[in-house]
Symmetry: C2
Subunit: 67 residues, 2 copies
């Protein structure tokens, strides 16, 4: 369950994992593991990531499931 959306939005803005980590006040490892889908991040961190990437929560973390 990789989160490819974050990675795409990040590289689209020309940011490294470290860059994004600095923007949201987290560590590179945390960003990497979230992108890998190995973490269940906190809401506040999700919000910071979304804002830093000019996206919304739904854009990055919401998956529509048909029915």
């Amino acid at each position: 369950m990789e989160n490819i959306k974050i990675k795409l939005a990040r590289v689209e803005k020309g940011l490294s994992q470290q860059d994004l980590a600095d923007l949201v006040g987290a560590t590179r490892q945390t960003i990497g593991l979230i992108e890998k889908g190995k973490y269940n991040p906190s809401l506040n961190l999700c919000i910071k990531i979304a804002k830093s990437l000019d996206r919304t929560l739904n854009d990055l973390f919401w998956y529509e499931n048909k029915k």
Copy 2:
């Protein structure tokens, strides 16, 4: 920073905190504290809550900030 959106969506569906807690596999206290804005819930819990209330992450946890 109370989260009134969750509370509104919950009562709108005629659910008690305990009901919602059961639906998402959490405890009543956890739901209560999230509604009070005293917790920073995990993304997975947010997703479960949103689905249980037929809302999206943005509906319940995203606040548009002008500029």
